[in-house]
């Protein structure tokens, strides 16, 4: 028998790399180009759009959605899904209000309780999925309903506001602390809102974690082939639980920022968070031709939706037209990203 010098591998696919390919460019940068075009067009039509303040307004408006979307990106990366993020954020909103307004315990306990709840919810989700072997969608849907109800029980379904009447008869003595409110409202240099900084820092940390650290690789490996990853020696269960805890943690931070913005335990806040953040994470698939959940894409996805809404609002588009345009741009952007990309492979 022959000895193989080196196994002949797939004949290198045509060396197209050097030549510029419009298609590849579109796949990679399509969404970013649309975003840029959008910004320019809005700016042209409404100069106020381009002011630094307005740019930070956009970032501020997307910060909570973006945080949730970042969390859900991690669960998407492991091939799962977290439907409970919206209600986790709402829970965190109610919990922080409860701690400050009703229990009158101040800022740090409020933050601690929220973070703990977020991580605990993530842990519970993870356990249901890993130990209870319930499919992700199902487990987190159940959790979502559970939280939707649970968060209202302590107050009997009422919003939590300073001075509200308690079921016991007295009235709430506490209030949102200034420090806590600053979390959502303070602007560094009187320009950059704190939530924006939180979001950007979180996004960078998560990007490093997912793209540069060993843990991120394992998470992606689990999403690609859970069994092979387990056989390669990774403690898959622990990673999955951790992914849901990250998701829960990010959602609870999002909920806290929301609470600080809203300044009240408002029961209806946060209802659209789930869909918007899922949309952001899914749009992220199309950024840089990733075709998979990825942190950078998610951040761009959130920004994309935020810019679109801000711009359309400036142009006086009615709210339902915004939905329509949001859907249309989403579908078109994805269509040409995925539609183009696909003819390449398979």
């Amino acid at each position: 028998m022959q000895t193989p010098s080196s196994v002949q591998t797939s004949p290198a696919p045509e060396p197209r790399r050097v030549s510029f390919s419009l298609k590849d460019f579109v796949i990679k940068f399509g969404l970013l180009v649309i975003l840029a075009v959008m910004i320019v067009v809005f700016w042209r039509l409404e100069p106020a759009f381009g002011s630094a303040r307005n740019m930070f307004s956009i970032l501020q408006a997307v910060s909570v959605t973006a945080l949730l979307a970042l969390g859900v990106t991690v669960t998407l990366a492991i091939g799962g899904f977290d439907l409970s993020i919206g209600s986790t954020a709402a829970m965190s909103l109610m919990a922080s209000s409860y701690v400050m307004v009703i229990l009158d315990l101040g800022t740090l306990p409020a933050i601690a309780v929220c973070l703990f709840l977020g991580l605990a919810i993530g842990f519970a989700n993870g356990m249901l999925i890993v130990k209870g072997r319930i499919p992700d969608l199902l487990a987190t849907l159940g959790m979502m309903f559970l939280l939707l109800g649970l968060q209202l029980i302590p107050t009997g379904g009422r919003s939590i506001a300073k001075g509200m009447t308690l079921p016991s008869g007295g009235s709430a003595q506490g209030s949102f602390t200034e420090t806590f409110l600053a979390l959502g409202r303070y602007r560094v240099f009187d320009l950059i809102p704190l939530p924006v900084i939180v979001m950007i820092v979180a996004a960078i940390l998560l990007w490093v974690f997912m793209e540069r650290s060993r843990y991120g690789r394992v998470l992606y490996a689990i999403g690609g082939n859970e069994k092979a990853t387990r056989l390669a020696g990774a403690p898959v269960e622990r990673y999955k639980i951790a992914a849901y805890m990250i998701s829960g943690g990010f959602a609870s931070v999002g909920g806290m920022l929301l609470a600080a913005r809203v300044g009240r335990g408002d029961v209806s806040s946060g209802s659209s968070l789930l869909l918007d953040s899922v949309a952001a994470a899914l749009i992220g698939f199309a950024v840089l031709g990733a075709k998979k959940p990825n942190v950078f894409g998610t951040a761009i996805g959130a920004l994309f939706v935020g810019t679109l809404l801000n711009g359309l609002t400036m142009l006086n588009a009615p709210y339902y037209a915004q939905d329509f345009v949001k859907g249309l741009v989403l579908v078109l952007a994805l269509l040409f990203t995925f539609g183009f990309a696909s003819s390449n492979h398979r």
Partner: protein, 324 residues
């Protein structure tokens, strides 16, 4: 440009205002917007509508966005006090003129336009007592946490205290979309469990629609009377149906409220104080009234019940009344 003879900036140039909304879905809000739009048009105002769709944080952001756009004045429509207080104060401090509808910004410089929810509930409940006496078993549809409903609830609690023989035997409610349909399902269950209910207080017309559907389905439209708040064309159709259980509702014409908001802001911009509080009085509308006058939709209602069609508040000679 500008309006000849008008005071302040109205006489000099076109004015640009923003309407920053918290709630927008539903007929009440559509009519409100229609009122704002036509009064603004009558004043030649450049109106921008910013819709936060029940997202309190976004509403605060949109208030900032309106400021970024360099408007002259801002109308805040609904929202949460805690969320809007600071940004509204900042807007006032930066020289923007601000009025608020149905949200208290706790700022003396911000005139408060109100449709008076407590009064609204009171008128409906007084009619209910006229119709049913002071002793009956009642059902109550309520979802806490929504500001106008909470205010209406205060009145209901007061009435129950005042008339101890009015017994609330069941309470239900949901905000699940479509609200009317979900409430109908709930009501069907409640009616079965409590066949002795005589009156249902559903102080939000979406609730009332759902209750009516269930009452009709249960064949109880002659036994039960429904009292509610708010009104719209579909509500009128439902009330004037043969043997409709929906007896009465109390409402302000939200289009009129919209007009009042714009006029108040215009006064403010012109340097005239419209007053700390501008109240638009509600009107009781009963089945009998509708039948008697042959009213079938909102336009006819406005035409035939004068106090519903316009409000003599925040008027000035230089402010043209809009075409209705």
């Amino acid at each position: 440009a500008g309006i000849a003879g008008a005071p302040g900036i109205f006489g000099k140039r076109q004015v640009k205002i923003a309407l920053v909304r918290y709630l927008s879905t539903g007929d009440f809000f559509q009519f409100y917007l229609a009122g704002v739009t036509r009064q603004a048009a009558a004043l030649g105002i450049d109106l921008h509508v910013l819709d936060s769709r029940q997202d309190a944080a976004l509403q605060a952001e949109m208030l900032a966005q309106a400021m970024n756009m360099g408007v002259d004045g801002i109308i805040l429509q609904h929202g949460l006090t805690e969320t809007l207080k600071d940004p509204a104060a900042r807007a006032v401090a930066e020289g923007f003129k601000v009025v608020a509808f149905d949200v208290n910004c706790e700022n003396p410089k911000i005139p408060q336009i109100e449709q008076n929810d407590r009064e609204l509930a009171r008128l409906s409940l007084e009619q209910a007592i006229r119709d049913n006496g002071e002793a009956f078993k009642a059902g109550y549809v309520y979802v806490p946490g929504i500001a106008p409903l909470d205010r209406r609830d205060e009145t209901w609690q007061a009435v129950k205290k005042k008339y101890p023989k009015i017994v609330e035997v069941a309470r239900w409610g949901t905000m699940n979309n479509p609200i009317a349909n979900s409430v109908a399902d709930q009501t069907a269950a409640v009616l079965r469990a409590n066949p002795d209910i005589k009156m249902i207080f559903a102080p939000f017309d979406e609730f009332a629609k759902g209750v009516k559907t269930a009452v009709d389905e249960a064949g109880l439209s002659k036994q039960i009377k429904i009292y509610s708040a708010d009104i719209s064309t579909p509500d009128i159709s439902a009330m004037i149906e043969k043997d409709s259980a929906w007896s009465a509702t109390t409402a302000t014409n939200s289009a009129v409220v919209g007009e009042v908001c714009v006029r108040s802001l215009a006064l403010l911009l012109a340097g005239i104080d419209p007053g700390r509080e501008v109240v638009v009085p509600p009107t009781l509308i009963t089945q009998a009234m509708l039948a008697e006058k042959g009213i079938k939709n909102m336009e006819e209602l406005a035409a035939k019940i004068p106090q519903f069609s316009r409000a003599e508040v925040a008027m000035a000679p230089w402010i043209p009344e809009p075409k209705r």
